[in-house]
Symmetry: C2
Subunit: 247 residues, 2 copies
């Protein structure tokens, strides 16, 4: 079967056949849906995850499931000792994860903010993209739900793109490595609806900030996820230790 | 002795007392002189080096000497497995280091280019700066000698600054983390002259791309260093296995 037919069969855009995308996969919903959006466009997927001393290392086994489900050519789990710097509840043993009311989430920079995290992740993704001669680095940043994180805003992604164009061999040659944040402008409900259409394996995603056996159902991340499923009129397939009364 | 007097005694600018700078120290000349320039301005030095599988790991012991000589408050050697991606002679066992004529260096992107290296290093420096609430990240990028590296150009540093201002908590609060490349516009000879004035321990710096007992005296980096010392009318205190006839 030739490539054009193979694309048609899978309903993929032929224009992107053979193009490579480095997809940053955290194990959460946003990066999983972002990966499947790019896969649906016909890109070859090169999965990249980071082992950065996060409490919720369950994310990494979920990331492996997602990469397999997305037919990734390769999945690199990159060790990154960010905990040497401390400075966030997600990597610092001393700070507990705080609970907030669902309506207060995103108003200030939360204690779960990892310093310059997206900048570090995108930069290592960019290095990987250069060695692969890949066309894009894909990140699951979302502006809607995480207003409190400065590095999830559209103007940040734009500035990163401009910097990347000046930083790289490809940029100098006029073949930009696209910094693609396909769910940036979507609400959590829209992201979940998109993922359901694309058969994202939500049962193999992990959002909880607390690395317990089951998702806690009380941290910011669990609450945003549950709110998203509720608004998308869909059932979250994972198990929770507790559920909020509004769900 | 109060802080103002202590500053005067050491000839330091009082305005910067208590300010912190994360200095990326490679073990080479450019980052060593950059560190001493910032130290001379009165900043507290937080040294950061990367163990990224480089052939010339001798750089790292030099980086330790330089950090000590600069009275660094702390020196973190951050492991970074960039060699997982391959793609450069400096981290890839298969590619030999090429020799070039001194006049050809900088005309094209050399095989020693490490993909997105400065972007990765600055980003981890930025993460460290955020956790320390530091005022600057200092990099020894030089535009003059390394015209072949896209991420050593002034427009790259400017674009990185704009991105960093949008990426960070400090940036959001209007207290920019300065991306400082103090030797960016200097020639190698000017960098060496500046370093001699500031008592940079050049005997504890390493520039050679080949990780042998002595510097080779034939790779691009050795040639640029030797040319710099020659133009600065100074003697390079390190030993070379061979010297070019023009030195």
């Amino acid at each position: 079967m030739d490539k054009a037919r193979e694309c048609q069969k899978h309903g993929k855009a032929f224009g992107n056949m053979g193009k490579k995308a480095v997809c940053l996969i955290s194990g959460g919903i946003d990066s999983a849906v972002s990966t499947f959006i790019v896969k649906d466009k016909g890109y070859e997927i090169y999965a990249l995850s980071f082992d950065y001393g996060q409490h919720h290392s369950k994310e990494l086994s979920c990331a492996e499931h997602i990469a397999k489900a997305a037919d990734a050519q390769r999945h690199i789990i990159f060790p990154l000792e960010l905990h040497r710097f401390g400075g966030s509840a997600l990597v610092d043993d001393l700070s507990p994860i705080e609970n907030h009311d669902i309506n207060d989430i995103g108003r200030t920079i939360p204690s779960t903010y990892v310093p310059a995290r997206n900048t570090v992740f995108l930069s290592i993704g960019l290095a990987h993209a250069e060695t692969l001669d890949a066309d894009a680095v894909v990140i699951g940043a979302t502006a809607a739900d995480y207003a409190g994180y400065p590095d999830c805003r559209p103007e940040y992604i734009q500035a990163y793109q401009q910097m990347a164009d000046l930083a790289t061999k490809r940029g100098v040659e006029g073949r930009s490595v696209t910094i693609d944040a396909p769910v940036l402008a979507l609400s959590k409900a829209e992201i979940i609806r998109t993922g359901l259409k694309l058969n994202v394996p939500f049962a193999s995603t992990w959002s909880c900030y607390r690395g317990q056996q089951q998702a806690c159902g009380t941290c910011d991340s669990c609450l945003l996820r549950l709110k998203g499923f509720k608004e998308a009129n869909a059932k979250d397939p994972i198990q929770y230790a507790a559920l909020p009364d509004w769900y």
